[in-house]
Amino acid sequence: MSLLTSLARLRALEEGIAQPIATVRHCHLAERPMVLIPLRMSGEAAAPLAALLGTRRDDPRLLVVTQPRNRDLRFAWAADLAAELLPYIGSFLAGTETVERKNSDPYERVLDAPQILVPNQAGIAFIRLLGRSTRFRRAHGPYPVPPTVPLLGRWLTYFGERATHPGSSLMTAVTEELGRHWASGQSGLEDANLAALTAWITTGPSDDAEDPLVWPPAGPATDPGFDAEVLAPAIEAGAAERITEALRGQLEPTWRLMWQAVDLLRELPEGASVEQRWEQDRGSFSAMAQHIAEGAPPQARRDGAVAAASRLARMERAQAAYEVQRAYDDPLVMAEYRLTGEAFAGEVVETEPEHSEGEGRSRKLRPLVVVKTDDPVRLAPGTALGTPQRRAQGAQLVEARDGLVTVKITKGMGRGKTPAPGSVPEVGERVCYTSLTDDFQGSPALPEAEATPWTHGGPPREYAPSDEDALEEWS
């Protein structure tokens, strides 16, 4: 958390309402997101209890394990979940585009991809465990399960893993997304409570948010009081209807909050780089779909050492790219870098558009721009700079003194003797320069590493699921 966000939190505390910390939306928001609220049986690692899900707010589908200790019912529940999710996922596979790649074969990328919205991080972790507990099952042999169950498991595993990829929007926790755009007047820990966070953003803090009788927890854990007073007696009595209705009662308030959160996020204009990250999501999703279509085995129980290392590197790159992109997309995020002296913004007070360097044929246009800024610039002369106003351009800091910064434009000026109209900022224009560089922008068309054919980057450790995997208990 930066000082800027801390300040926003303090302001929120004082004013009794959450404060914006973003001016644009930094996540993709699907037209038709799949809202999914899973509940887990308390005390169990990954035993499902219920889920409320759907793509339309007026039409949620409730799936309940009416006898949570019954293993067969768990698999039946998983099959029901598959019957909802797999068609949704499949509906995106029809429309594709062909993407050309350098040094590699072209590939097919879906035009749009699914998006699953879960209340919180714990929900994502639970989805991942659900994937883990179902993907090795088999449709034949001892303990057969419906064939859709292992398939669902592979998809849930995929979505769960992709959710850890910075900037991905295929599956996100709405508390995380809300928290990225608003600062509440409570701690990050308390922000994980969807009801509390939504209240801060909309009406101001409310103690009701922590009262499980008013706002049941958004899962996957249920309220212990509900377990003791409602669920346990209903299970004991074998009252399936009562269990179903009780769980509906626990889930519906969260359902409303989820859609309220969707509305809140939709009101924000989309950030400029969101489209590009979504394109990567589409590429990744396409690769996974193809992987399954080719009959590849389910994801291994654990990454091999090589896979883990490359995954880590990939995540780090994605994280860096995500941070830079957000700063370029959003002045309020860029402000954090201005505060630390890695960026500055101000008015252009002087320009030398036709300034050039070199002689004869190697003579190049290097316009100079002087910016007047109040920001505390902490950049050394020679530092390479970029600017959100002209993303294709590169610049260099010449000198910074007394609130006046001289910048030399070094890239993107073309070959002409005079600059193209608009390529050099005019006096009076507001500009922002930063040392954050946008290297990744050079290769937006490249697919994710997951989409790289296995022949590139070395053979992955082939995971052969064993009988034991298939027969594993689910208790």
């Binding site: 800027l4 409570q186 820990l189 346990a232 309020l332 208990e473 208790s475």
Partner: protein, 366 residues
């Protein structure tokens, strides 16, 4: 009656269990908690009487599952446990002797545990391998807290190991880090108690291993799996906090003579003390609220409410507090940010940052 007992007054003391002692280390800076715990005050009852009941609760399903798992680990002469100890501690096949300390009456359990442990420490042969239901004691601020580790295992090499049985799952070699950390903190309490017992008996306390055996269900089945967990760090934190609690005298000295947190239980055991009066008494002690309290201390809602009324930055979490280094209240920080308040000495740098931050926010949101 000593001062600590006077703080508790006529309310019966609440014995500490390992979880409570482990939680002591969670917010070592809080004088309020140190005093209440030191005096053996029932914080849960106190919070409820104040109208701020703690948000904790355990699902009956979780409790049932925990009990069933422990029974499974210990069933059939600890068959599962022996298998795991043979795996992780290389226990020889002959080492299977089992002592159930609970075979003696409840009042004798502690003595019996001592006798058995002493025998094991003295004579490494024929003394036993698994001690079930032992009862250890640990002195907390002048009171002995009795603790029941799940199992103590004695290994041929002359080392004792605490065995901690938990029902959270280890999936593909990974478990919920928060759950593991909590288990390690709790196990450290047992290690410390057993070490102190050995020292009292004249043995080398370090014969209690700092590696505890954590037994959890593996993957999605009920099958137990054991892992060795190093609790040295947790031990160090715990020892520091306990030594701090023996220094409670200094904290008590600063308190008004007549101060008490007595609930004045009536005949039916229900508190009769006016809640507002009790709240006032508590406010005479210094708290150090942090959002972490929400999962570790019964008084959390009371202290959070207090922090809210004071507009304390602590409400927003340690990160915010650290970032604001030295600026305690929201009002003060905002005053520095909009320039309506002049920085005190030492606040110049943070004030400058806050002012810039404020200007940037205004500019971007205009």
């Amino acid at each position: 009656m000593n001062r600590l007992d006077a703080l508790r007054g006529t309310t019966p003391p609440k014995p500490h269990d390992a979880r409570a002692i482990a939680a002591l280390a969670a917010n070592p800076g809080c004088a309020r908690r140190a005093l209440l715990d030191g005096a053996g005050i029932d914080k849960d009852a106190t919070a409820r009487h104040l109208g701020f009941p703690a948000p904790f609760g355990q699902s009956p399903f979780a409790i049932t599952r925990g009990n069933a798992f422990e029974a499974l680990v210990k069933a059939d002469g600890c068959a599962e446990l022996l298998r795991m100890l043979r795996e992780v501690l290389e226990l020889p096949v002959a080492e299977v002797a089992y002592h159930d300390v609970e075979n003696v009456g409840a009042h004798l359990r502690h003595t019996h545990t001592r006798a058995l442990i002493d025998r094991a420490a003295r004579d490494e042969h024929d003394s036993g391998t698994i001690y079930d239901h032992p009862l250890l004691g640990l002195e907390i601020a002048g009171h002995t807290a009795y603790l029941e580790p799940d199992v103590v295992a004695f290994q041929l090499g002359g080392r004792f190991h605490i065995v901690e049985i938990k029902s959270f799952a280890v999936i593909d070699g990974q478990a919920d880090p928060a759950a593991v950390a909590a288990a390690a903190r709790q196990a450290a309490v047992y290690v410390l108690a057993l070490r102190r017992m050995l020292r009292e008996l004249g043995h080398d306390p370090l014969r209690v291993a700092h590696d505890v055996v954590l037994v959890c269900p593996e993957n999605f089945a009920n099958r137990p799996v054991a892992t060795l967990v190093d609790v040295r760090r947790q031990l160090a934190v715990l020892e520091r906090q306990l030594s701090r609690m023996t220094g409670l005298d200094r904290l008590v000295e600063g308190l008004p003579e007549e101060l008490t947190f007595d609930l004045l239980p009536g005949e039916d055991g229900l508190p009769t003390r006016p809640a507002a009066e009790l709240a006032d008494a508590l406010r005479r002690t210094t708290a150090r609220y942090a959002p972490d309290c929400l999962s570790t201390c019964d008084l959390c809602f009371f202290c959070r409410d207090e922090a809210r009324q004071e507009g304390a930055c602590d409400l927003l979490g340690r990160q915010v507090r650290d970032e604001l280094g030295g600026v305690a209240s929201a009002e003060e920080a905002l005053g520095l940010a909009d320039g309506s308040r002049a920085p005190a000495e030492g606040q110049e740098e943070i004030a400058r940052l806050l002012r810039t931050a404020e200007r940037l926010r205004r500019e971007c949101l205009a």
